[in-house]
Symmetry: C2
Subunit: 243 residues, 2 copies
DNA sequence: TTGTGAAATAATGTATACATGAAAAAGCCT
DNA sequence: AGGCTTTTTCATGTATACATTATTTCACAA
């Protein structure tokens, strides 16, 4: 089996392009359907066209860009797309945790993730939410690894690639703090229940929990979308969504 | 919404590399973990390194290759991987048909796919199975388009990318013809039921049918795998699977 | 005025030379 | 002899010039 991605990630020009392009796309500085021209972009990013093209190709596979004849355009997402993406992630994550629950001796592999959940417990009890996003991401990464299958792990990772579909996409909220804090408490209860279900070999329950957990993200994005105008600067992910 | 991919696909060097490399990988002529070197490959394929690298990058995203330090290696799949991939496709396809069933006035969009099912009816009644694979692929393509959402359509397409996960992966069988013919009959019944469920707005039923339909593919691959040695030359997809 | 066509323009596609880094080989020391 | 360091070699990463193809623009005719 493939190792859990401990690659140090080479810091080459292609990575630089990827980081910068992702950031620009997500920030919404390119309105949907903007055509990206290679030469000006390369000049702007201070790299040659070769690594830039490699980055563009990757972003196309990620679904953030799409070809339009010759060249790429920024992909525009609808609100419905965001809901579909989140539900999709929930489904695939659900399959992953079901497989984990069906594994023999899964208990032996739960040490690390239990520590993460414990750390999340303390964060949720805090008065602020600092560090929640990172820990939550770690939890979900560890969760998908529990299935013990590279294919399903990769697919969950992929389903989380869109900025609004990731588990920690809306894990901070300046406004409406109380409501958000409650959703964190519920989410954390899901985390505990998820682990318990996996440990007990309750595959169907684990799968249902993963889906419900994703549903929580759906609710969060729906709330966020309603007050979109005011929140745009807090949640750049929303800039990608056009209707 | 994006158009249903009527792009004529430019016939450039990158496409040539993709075709050739896919064919070589699937045929199993490179044992798992074979390192691919760019320069010899480029010479062999009679292209420069630039389009070759583009093709390699795409195949990495497809999951047929993986990076190993510097350079690519052919990804090896286990039997479990194949089962997971098929079930995954069934799940995602299931979500797609559920969305289709939940659409208003979906009946207006069923003309083309009904024609495909009718064509499949005649093929299934034949004494041979010529043309089944192509028609079946067409049916599934049209099916995923019914959801009316580019994101879910793209994801179903992606879930079908692995040679053993595609809907028509094992749609021919020289040996054990009778058993295989029966599975075709059952599969075709699924097709009819799927359309009926979508037309009537029975989302849950449509989803369940899509999953069961994928399960049929699982059974087929299990049977095929048991007699793998004799069938390798008929089913090159199996060469990818190592244990 | 609008449609069609061809020519001009500008973009992406490709090849190749060079830079950089990693892996392999050789030599040295212990 | 074995293991470590150094050097060499070779593969990938990058830049850029050139080829090809797509797009735009302008002219001309219906």
């Amino acid at each position: 089996m493939k190792k859990p991605d401990n690659e140090p990630k080479p810091d080459n020009q292609t990575e630089k392009c990827l980081r910068e392009l992702r950031s620009r796309i997500i920030s919404g500085q390119w309105p949907g359907a903007t055509k990206l021209r290679e030469v000006p972009l390369a000049t702007d990013l201070d790299v040659s066209r070769t690594p830039l093209r490699a980055a563009l190709l990757k972003l196309e596979q990620e679904g953030l860009l799409e070809r339009s004849g010759a060249g790429y355009t920024v992909r525009a997402f609808s609100f419905k797309d965001a809901l579909v993406a989140i539900e999709l992630r929930g489904m695939i994550e659900g399959m992953a945790v079901r497989l984990a629950a069906e594994r023999l001796n899964i208990g032996d592999h739960l040490t690390a993730i239990k520590a993460t959940v414990a750390a999340l417990d303390t964060v949720v009890q805090q008065e602020h939410t600092d560090g929640y996003g990172d820990l939550n991401k770690l939890f979900h990464d560890q969760l998908t690894a529990l299935a013990g299958n590279d294919l399903i792990r990769d697919e969950v990772q992929r389903a989380s690639r869109l900025p609004f579909a990731a588990p920690s996409a809306f894990s901070s909220s300046k406004d409406d703090y109380e409501r958000f804090k409650e959703s964190l408490v519920v989410g954390q209860q899901h985390h505990h229940a998820l682990l318990q279900a996996i440990e007990r070999g309750e595959g169907a329950r684990a799968e249902a929990l993963a889906r419900e957990h994703a549903h929580l993200a759906k609710i969060n994005i729906e709330v966020a979308f309603k007050v979109r105008a005011e929140k745009l600067h807090h949640m750049p992910q929303l800039a990608l969504i056009t209707d």
